[in-house]
Amino acid sequence: MKDIKYSSAELMIINAARLLRDSDVVFVGVGQPNLACNLAKRTHAPNLVMIYEAGVIGAEPERLPLSIGDPTLVSGSLSVVSMYDIFSNYLQRGNVDVGFMGGAQIDKYGNINATVIGGYDHPKVRLPGSGGSQEIAAWANRCYIMTPHQKRRFPEKVEFMTSAGFIGGRGDRDAAGLRGRGMVGVVTDIGMMEPDESGEMILTALHPGKTVDEAKANTGWDLKVAGQIRVTELVSKKELKILREELDPTGIYLKSNA
C-alpha cells in the first residue's frame, strides 16, 4: 500500500469524506467539499443529501459542477427553492447537519476570516466576503473546513470574524445562543484539528508519515496536542479511483498541492 501516490488535495478530500455520516444533510460548497461529499455518497454514505446555497436540495450532478450554481446541480435534483427559503427554512430552522466552510484564515477558536486582510475600511486584500458562511457556521450542526496546513492560514486570531467558531472560547458561543455545535473538524494536509473543551482547536490526528512538529511549525498559535493522537487511515485505491476516474477526471480540483 505504501506506494500509493496522492496529492495534498486528495488526502484532505478523502479524510473529509470520511467525516460524513449516512443520511447527513450537507450544505456543500463547490470544489473540494463537493468532491468530498460525492465521494462519501459513493462509498459509505449513499443517503447523503447534498444542499447548495443556490437553493438546490438533493443534487445528483452528472458532471463535475464548476460553480455553486451549475445547471447540472439542478437537473434531476429533489427540490429547488429560493435563497430566502434555503437560508431560513433549511439552515436557520436547523435542517442542516453539516456545513463545509471556506476562508483565508482560521484561528485558534475555529473562527473564520473570508472578508479582508488589513483594515476593513482600507483593505490590503479584499476577500469575497461572507456569502452564506456566517450563517452556516452558526446554524449547521457540525462544521468542517479543509485547508492546507500553513502558518498564514492559521493565525492566533482572525483579523476579521466573518464566521464564528467558538469566538473567544466555548462560553461565548453558548452565550450567543447559536444552535449548531460549531467548527468540529479542521482537515489539513498534515492531520486534523478538533476543539477541546474550551473550544480551542488542538491537534487530534496525523496523516500517515506526518509529525506533530510539522503541524506545530505550520500553525500560528501554540498548538496543543491531544492526549491520544490518532493516525488517519491510509488513503485507499478505491477512494482515489472514484475521485480520479468518476468525479474529477480532468483534475481541476485534485491537482492542487499535488
Binding site: V30, G31, E53, A54, G55, V56, P65, L66, S67, I68, G69, D70, P71, L73, V74, S75, G76, V80, V81, S82, M83, Y84, F87, S88, L91, Q92, N111, T115, Y120, D121, H122, P123, K124, V125, R126, P128, G129, S130, G131, G132, S133, Q134, E135, A137, A138, W139, F160, M161, T162, S163, A164, I167, D172, R173, A176, G177, L178, R179
Partner: protein, 300 residues
C-alpha cells in the same frame, strides 16, 4: 396593455443615473444583456446591489457606471476573485456596503413584503455588524435572545431575466430561482428580459410556475441568450470558458477596455452579440432537452 418594448428603450426609460439597480440572479439567469445596454447608454453613479455581484457588475464598474456596490459575496463564480470591483475597493475608488447572504436576501424579502425590516437569529460573528451601521440588534419581545435586524431594500429598478413571459410580464422561471421574485416585488420598477415571449395561455396553463406577475412589471423585452456567459436552465449552458477568460481579461485595464470596445460598445444589441459569438460557441453551449413530468390542473 402590452409592455413589450426593446431593451434599449427599457433601459433608457426606466434606468436613471444614480439609481439603485438590482440585476438579480444567483449564477443563473444573470441579466448580462441589460448590463451591457446600461454600459452602452453611459448610465452613471449607479448603486449596484446584488447578493453575488459577478462579471456583469465587474464590467459595469470597469465602464464607470457605478459609484457603489451592495453585496454579500463578491467573486467570479467557480473561478476566483472579482478583480475590478475588488481593486476599486482596495484603491478606495468605489463605495461598498456589505452583508452576509442571509442579511442581503432578508433586506430584499423585507422590501418585497412592504415591511421596514426583518429579523434574523444571531450568528455570533459580530464584525460585520460593527462596520455596517444598518445592521442592528433588537430584543426579542418574547424573552429569547436579541435578534439581528436589517432594513428593507427597495431598489429603484430590478432587472430580471426569465425563461418565458407573456407580453404583460407574467413570467415562468425555473432552475435556480435565487432572489428574482424578491427583487421584483421589492423594486419600484421591474425590467424583464425573456428567452421567449409566449402566449398568455402558456402562462395560464401552469399558474404555480408563475413567479413574477405582470402587475409589478414595467417593461418586457424579448432578448434570447440575454444571460450569456451565465446560462438559462433548459435553454443553453454556462460558458465556463468565458468565466475563466475574464479572470485574465480583468487583469489589466487595457484588455478590459478592448473587451468592452469589442463586445459591448462594438455591438448594437444582444442579437448582434450572439451572432458575433459564432456557431462554434453556440454549439458548445447547446444542450439536449430533459422534460418535466406534466401535471393536470383539471377542468373545473
Amino acid at each position: 396593455m402590452s409592455k413589450l418594448i426593446s431593451l434599449k428603450k427599457a433601459i433608457s426609460d426606466y434606468v436613471n443615473d444614480g439609481d439603485v439597480v438590482y440585476a438579480a440572479g444567483f449564477t443563473h439567469l444573470i441579466p448580462f444583456a441589460a448590463g451591457h445596454e446600461i454600459i452602452r447608454q453611459g448610465k452613471r453613479n449607479l448603486i449596484l446591489a446584488r447578493a453575488t455581484p459577478d462579471l456583469i457588475y465587474d464590467q459595469m464598474v470597469a465602464a464607470g457606471c457605478a459609484k457603489k456596490v451592495i453585496f454579500s459575496y463578491m467573486g467570479n463564480p467557480g473561478v476566483g476573485s472579482l478583480r475590478i470591483v475588488r481593486t476599486a475597493i482596495e484603491k478606495g475608488e468605489l463605495e461598498w456596503e456589505e452583508y452576509s447572504h442571509f442579511g442581503m436576501i432578508t433586506r430584499l424579502q423585507a422590501g418585497a413584503s412592504g415591511l421596514p425590516f426583518l429579523p434574523m437569529n444571531q450568528t455570533g460573528a459580530t464584525d460585520l455588524e460593527k462596520v455596517n451601521p444598518k445592521i442592528k440588534r433588537i430584543p426579542d419581545p418574547y424573552g429569547g435572545k436579541d435578534v439581528i435586524v436589517v432594513p428593507a431594500l427597495n431598489p429603484d429598478v430590478a432587472i430580471v431575466h426569465v425563461q418565458r413571459a407573456d407580453k404583460n410580464g407574467n413570467a415562468h422561471l425555473w432552475g435556480i430561482i435565487g432572489e428574482q421574485k424578491e427583487a421584483a416585488f421589492a423594486a419600484k420598477k421591474v425590467i424583464l428580459t425573456a428567452e421567449e415571449i409566449v402566449a398568455e395561455s402558456v402562462i395560464r396553463a401552469d399558474p404555480n410556475r408563475t413567479m413574477i406577475p405582470g402587475i409589478v412589471v414595467s417593461a418586457v423585452c424579448h432578448v434570447p441568450f440575454a444571460s450569456h456567459p451565465s446560462y438559462s436552465q433548459g435553454y443553453f449552458d454556462r460558458d465556463n470558458e468565458f468565466y475563466l477568460a475574464w479572470d485574465k481579461i480583468s487583469e489589466s485595464q487595457e484588455s478590459v477596455q478592448e473587451y468592452l470596445d469589442e463586445w459591448v460598445y462594438g455591438v448594437k444589441d444582444r442579437n448582434a452579440y450572439w451572432k458575433k459569438l459564432g456557431q462554434k460557441v453556440h454549439k458548445r453551449l447547446s444542450i439536449k432537452p430533459r422534460y418535466s413530468e406534466k401535471i393536470s390542473y383539471g377542468k373545473y
